[in-house]
Symmetry: C2
Subunit: 409 residues, 2 copies
């Protein structure tokens, strides 16, 4: 395994139980030796599920399955393996998904369309599905409401630390818990980041409402992070609600009782998304790019991503070089309206440009000091309108190349 | 200076004289020590000029000037400096251009709008224009019809070798010469590659015809190369025709006498564009990506660029890893129609995929052998239509990060 990212949180958070959710992780030897690589999560009958998926046009077989199963809106179990993405594996890949779903449905005792599967790892290798299905009965015996950390560990690939988060919210005075875990490190870009994410709650929420809440929170979290601009074939985020809380069911996304939950969900997903950036392959700096003054929020996001994805901006930050000229370049290449002579670029809050050139009397010393830190803040006002967006990324270092030049060997 | 690229041509080609063109290079100490950094090229009265420029929305002051001067369609001199891009320098930058143009017009004895200027190097630093203007009388005395290599040397920034090419064509049985030189290494992407390019010919060509020929050749050369997907603020290609040849003037782009010239021009510009890729920052492999079977030529180019710009594809190639799953990923993220189950991916001409999965009996040995070479060929048929495109790029190595993490220091 690679060295732990210097940007990793101090520790994995303590995740409380979520009524109706049990987890088990194990090793079935798909690719890795001496570590877990399969996760089984089960939910009580009646649990609802929402999902968002990659926009790749070469999606993996498990994503095809989840999209179809989601129509039922119910979930009893999620099976995830790491080490093999079961992507671009053709008919063999579809059969592997069918085998997994069939075995899991039998072990759990539920209809097949209440089983969701994800696979992450190498693309194009047939999945040795027997090892996975054989592990399921064993995993069922190990199920526990406490195994959150083990679950987060089992789904990692090039991740250097497991990613988890928890929040609570109130509905009708009832305390609701939200737990989530995710994986992702490379092949990260909207839409979506290359990642798998799973969020569980005991709230009682109608499926369409759950879906709307998930989609909205994704736009503010997993869809505004980028590591390398590459889009995975397997990106999946699932949100499951067991309905074990006592409050009256939420049936409308506009329900004022639901606001607190939506905020908690967005906060949890932003936390997980930022952890993914902090584990960006080879990352040594966490970068927040904020664009204001754009023609629209969409234009602002396009400009912010042009900056966040620019290899020249990312390498300059890796070198702790306050090369703001490359930010000017990235704004220019984004293709969205920007007023060159009104550009206001700030690094670490310090204004660098004014009236179309370097600010008179600009002193690089405090900016250079900011560049030495682990958290870099870039903000750009493009002087056109009121559109704004914030995206998160990391720098581009030798570590990225080390990891990716020989991923398969 | 950085070590010469392993992909560099053996030597700079021998460029013959072009009737009506003289060149001089010198050192005026703008940034570099112990090397030339300014070029003066002069042309006989009556010479016509065509130009294409960056599509960046934060263009440098010299580009603004050239766009405006191009309306006159005539050229007597081109002044180029390296080391400072005079980009994002506001009113001061415009004044620097005005000073340069005024001085050059006086030295040459011509109207100001027959002087063209380019600057390349760091963005955002004021150009010490006095050093440049002071050098002009000295350069005028050094003018020679033979100084092609010196000209190509003077405009380099992070380039590790000077880039030149020559072709000849026949018009009315008259032998026409085309000479060109260019610079570019990083911040290279359509449209255009970050680069400066200058082509000179003794042909007699009406300005609108020259402009159409340049634009068409650019689409097949500088607009289909990418190093790092970043777009420069300064990209400029100028094509000048002195009209010193004896043939009757070409006044229509469809003129059959002109076909041979257009082919020679495209061939010369493809040569220069490929040299830029061969000098891509840190490049160790030259990569040709061909996409066929797309919905349109534009769709094919989008897919080809998605592959060519993917950091994961580029790092895999740097590591000599035949990780074709990443090509599948890049096709999927391009957003253009592709039939996953009909994808035909070939590396070094060897078919890797068939019917939506790895080709049965696929033997990686010859592909791995191909990956060890310096010239990598990737072709993908996406199984939709008849659109096709070819783009050129290089791999992403530690060298790129070394060069760009501390460019300004």
């Amino acid at each position: 395994m690679n060295t732990k990212s210097p940007l990793a949180p101090k520790r994995f958070p303590r995740l409380p139980e979520v009524a109706g959710v049990s987890l088990a992780a194990g090793a079935c030897g798909l690719r890795y030796k001496g570590r877990s690589d399969v996760l089984l999560a089960t939910l009580v009958p009646g649990s609802t599920i929402a999902g968002v998926f990659t926009r790749s046009l070469t999606v993996a077989a498990p994503v095809d399955w989840c999209r179809s199963a989601l129509k039922g809106g119910r979930v009893r179990a999620i099976v995830v393996n790491s080490g093999n993405a079961n992507a671009f594996t053709g008919r063999v890949g579809e059969l592997a998904v069918q085998d997994t779903v069939k075995s899991a449905a039998k072990v759990i005792g539920c209809p097949k369309n209440q089983i969701f599967v994800s696979s992450t790892g190498v693309i194009g290798e047939p999945l040795p599905v027997d090892r996975l299905t054989k592990a399921l009965p064993r995993l069922k015996k190990k199920l526990s409401p406490k195994s959150w950390r083990a679950a987060a560990d089992a789904i990692m690939t090039t991740d250097t630390f497991p990613k988890g988060a928890t929040r609570s919210a109130e509905i009708d005075g009832d305390k609701i818990t939200l737990n989530g875990f995710a994986k992702g490190s490379g092949m990260i870009a909207p839409d979506m980041a290359t990642m798998l994410g799973y969020v569980f709650t005991d709230a009682k929420i109608a499926q369409p409402v759950l879906q709307q809440a998930l989609r909205a929170a994704t736009e503010k979290s997993f869809n505004v992070i980028t590591v390398d601009s590459d889009t995975s074939t397997s990106d999946t985020v699932l949100l499951c609600a067991t309905g074990q809380a006592r409050h009256k069911k939420v049936t409308s996304v506009g329900d004022p009782r639901f606001k607190n939950f939506r905020q908690a969900l967005e906060s949890l997903m932003v936390d997980l998304a930022q952890q993914i950036v902090r584990d960006g392959e080879g990352a040594s700096k966490f970068i927040e790019v904020t664009v204001t003054g754009a023609a629209s929020n969409t234009a602002a996001k396009t400009i912010a991503l042009a900056i966040a994805n620019s290899p020249l901006v990312k390498t300059a930050i890796a070198g702790e070089d306050a090369n703001w000229g490359r930010i000017v370049m990235a704004v220019g290449k984004a293709g969205e309206k920007a007023d060159r002579d009104a550009l206001d670029i700030r690094i670490g809050g310090i204004q660098v440009t004014m009236d179309g050139l370097r600010k008179p009397g600009y002193d690089e010393t405090p900016v250079a000091q900011h560049m030495k830190g682990e958290e870099i803040a870039i903000s750009v006002d493009v002087g056109i309108g009121r559109g704004k967006a914030t995206v998160w990324t990391c720098d581009l270092t030798h570590g990225y190349i080390d990891i990716n030049a020989d991923y398969r060997t």
